[in-house]
Symmetry: C2
């Protein structure tokens, strides 16, 4: 079985348990929910810009916090008044654990071993949450006082413009010190360098120069772990989180293939950044690149799911959409499913009642077999500076020409009912005006279908297929079944369902083709495999 690696972020636990003092027992209970599941590794995140433990080399989240000072104390002065008390509460929880001598990471690591889970520590290598607010108490004074160490001091279009420049030795040393300390303080099975929080580590235009720098940094960390292996008496693995596509990873200074070939890493996590789960990561390509090494490839799943970059929706994945992504990625050769932001509350899947099932299914094709799964077209949310980016959706379709969408559906969906689900943008002035006849038909359709106040309508054109015209899967005609009432995640507006004829769907990549009768902008493409 491939299994699951699960990432726990540095303050979710404090935030979700902020209202009551915590005990060692409660800390252990957090681990216990992952015991006897498919979770092989708990990947415990010890930092953002500050440390989640009482560090001697970095500030902790509660350094400077006065537990008696309330939410109006100077520590929170830069925080918006309405957000202060909530922030104070989780900072206080970190402070309370420290006061009570409870090192949550040490306790979690011990408990993991007792319950048969491999404990890992992960470090965010360049976290820039909330850097629009320079005075936020989440930030380190090192970052605040050294704007000259930032990667793009001449602009601020995005948080990552204020990220550290790893081209600076001071920056590398600053981060290496926390790694040294964590390695001394915690007896973990493995250390992950999380280069995807937030993914941009060099001055714009200096990413290629950065390749050697990050490789050398990784080698230094490997050397450090080597020295600890003797003292701990066990192997200490090293992993890295990098962008989903090798050319983008390299374009951001991360030559993960070189790390693997030099024997520096044991596991590699490929992942989008945050905006959406990436359902079509090139696993086969990575496996070819890692061929001849012992490196395990973990497919990283984020919790959000969006169909296209401009989408205003912020929907979370569900058990069914994770099954879709995980069964695809595992069948493409991934050695592990890695869950990021799939925590036990707050930042979590939409149908949290299915969390126990997720932990017991998503790590194996066998346990997902015969269960309903949803394969959704999403996109890659991370690109190197100046790299050409692309996304399948939204897809503006001219009438009478086929438009194609590729979806990898994992194993052959034997015994399931297979459906193509499509959504289109509401007809705009531009599309409705493409032909008087079509516009008229569109109006009639809208009336028939009783379009709601959002303005979304089944679309202009052939009533027999809601304007999508011929819809094919692998060349086989699919049959329109009307508007489908599907659970979230779902697109803006109605979803139209087309039944795929038996046997037409196959393992691996399937191709959906649609030939709208009138101009359409498709914004949702899904292949659903339903078992009843």
């Amino acid at each position: 079985m491939a299994g699951i690696s699960l990432n726990e972020d540095p303050n979710h636990y404090l935030m979700s348990r902020r209202h009551n003092d915590l005990t060692a027992e409660e800390l252990m209970e957090w681990v216990d929910q992952y015991a006897d599941t498919q979770v092989n590794e708990l990947i415990l995140n010890v930092n953002a810009m500050r440390a989640g433990y009482d560090s001697g080399v970095w500030e902790s989240f509660w350094e400077g916090y006065d537990p008696e000072g309330g939410s109006d104390q100077p520590f929170f002065a830069a925080v918006a008044p309405e957000a202060r008390e909530r922030q104070r509460q989780w900072v206080h929880r970190g402070w309370q654990l420290h006061r009570d001598g409870l090192d949550r990471y040490a306790i979690w690591i011990d408990r993991c071993r007792e319950r048969g889970i491999s404990p890992w520590v992960t470090m965010r290598m360049n976290d820039v949450h909330s850097v629009d607010n320079e005075g936020d108490p989440m930030h380190s004074t090192f970052w605040q006082q050294n704007p000259q160490f930032r990667r793009a001091p001449y602009k601020f279009d995005d948080w990552v413009d204020k990220a550290f420049d790893y081209g600076r030795k001071e920056v590398r040393d600053y981060h290496f010190r926390l790694i040294e300390e964590a390695a001394e303080r915690y007896d973990f099975d493995g250390l992950e360098l999380d280069w995807m929080r937030f993914g941009f580590h060099f001055r714009p235009g200096f990413e290629e120069e950065g390749i050697a720098i990050l490789t050398e940094f990784t080698a230094d960390v490997r050397k450090l772990l080597d020295s600890w292996e003797a003292k701990r008496g066990h192997r200490i693995k090293l992993s890295a989180r990098v962008p989903s596509r090798p050319q983008t990873a390299r374009g951001l200074g991360m030559d993960a293939v070189e790390w693997a070939r030099r024997g520096l890493i044991d596991m590699l996590v490929i992942t989008p950044f945050w905006a959406t789960i990436e359902t079509d990561m090139p696993v086969e390509l990575w496996k070819q690149l890692l061929h001849g090494t012992d490196v395990e490839l973990a497919a990283g799943l984020e919790v959000l799911v969006r169909a296209y970059p401009e989408s205003a929706l912020r929907q979370m994945n569900t058990l069914e959409t994770v099954r879709g992504a995980a069964s695809s990625l595992l069948s493409r050769g991934a050695d592990r499913i890695y869950l990021f932001n799939y925590m036990d509350s707050d930042t979590a899947m939409a149908d949290l009642e299915n969390y126990p099932a997720l932990l017991r299914e998503a790590g194996s094709l066998e346990t997902m077999s015969g269960k309903t799964r949803r394969h959704i077209v999403t996109y890659s949310d991370t690109w190197a500076p100046g790299e050409a980016s692309g996304a399948l959706l939204p897809a503006a379709c001219g009438p009478g020409r086929y438009r194609s969408f590729r979806l990898h559906a994992g194993p052959k969906p034997d015994g399931g009912d297979v459906f193509v689900l499509l959504g289109a943008a509401p007809a705009s002035e531009g599309t409705a005006g493409a032909g008087r006849e079509n516009a008229t038909r569109g109006t009639a359709d809208r009336e028939n279908a009783g379009a709601d106040a959002t303005g979304f309508a089944p679309g202009a054109g052939d009533k027999g297929s809601a304007g999508f015209g011929d819809v094919l899967l692998n060349g086989h005609a699919c049959v329109y079944e009307g508007v489908a009432d599907i659970a979230k995640p779902r697109p803006e507006g109605p979803v139209h369902r087309f039944r795929v004829p038996a046997g037409a769907a196959h393992a691996g990549f399937n191709l959906i083709e649609a030939r709208p009768d009138a101009p359409q902008t498709i914004i949702w493409v899904e292949l659903a495999v339903e078992f009843r």
Copy 2:
């Protein structure tokens, strides 16, 4: 020295020499122009849908042609009347060579050896030129009479919809027979399988299933060549032309990495299809994939150069733009520069007077060093069915935010003057209306600059930079120098020149950033390195 491979298509020679009977001497002279240049291999193309020689297994271009019948004979009935005589002339030239017992490929191969050039033969594996005209005499009767062997019989949006489906054994056997015949007939140093004419070989949705099929086909060809090596007494190499990016190649059924690792191929040509030279092919990624094999990687250059897919321009490359692409691709690790459609006339570079220089320069960084070169942003013109495609241009820029463009500039441009060249689309109603103040300033600029009848203007906004605002190279501010009068290729409308400060440009990837003052759609991005 890396050197050059040069592809000669199946009818360019006949077309360009169509007016007079040809002799063996003239055939040899064609080879001689490539002797004592950097051309290592002449890659002689023997077919499209018909063979360029008197084949016993396929029709030749002149089979069915009556040399006495003029252009109104039945053979040309399906050709547009105004095109008949020209087509008759080149078909006649093929017929004449055959009549006179001149097998051009045999003569060329012998002459190549005499002049120190390695002779190769290349086969187009799925040529679909002009298939909108089913009766064109270029087509084979096998193709005409077997529509059931085509990959997408249900549609015709593009020529490739009518390409053969290699999922059919009949199709594979039909092509293999020509390979067998060519291997018996010609004593070549190497055979190239040109999977990029036209790149689509399977039913839509069956590309992944095709991977094993093409790998087996390649293995069969390798076995055939093995058997001929003993008879010829020398090594016979095998090569393949595939799309520029590994995941797209695989998405089209071409697992070139597997071919390399199984020892089936000796050379791999990565290339765009046709619409433009691709200046940013991921050479490093391919080299990592080919690591541990002996396969040489050739970077394929097409002759057209376009900045974005929708561009209506059809400009050819020049010595300077080839220097840009070739010096970049060689410095990224390509083992060879492969020229496709760079022939000695007709289908040729724009400045054909520089052809001799091209053949003596483009295969080596040394010979291009210290010479003016142009690095132009282009795009990838080939994507697998349903794959997300992307292009850097056109780039619609909102005001006040940086937009980034990556260009790999090859070796550090020491001693040269470096310029960023930018072009923008003419202000449309949409962009001009983005703000009254900007619109007014835009009008003033247009008057000052004396915009020509095309409607192109320097752009709205800051007069000091033609509306492009701050223009940076690797974070260094560049200085606006006005509209540049550059040679073709150039964009629609004016080109604006920005001087890069000394030392700001470096080897490898350089990043251009622009922050327009008003909405702009950038359609041309170039880094020019000029030596005087």
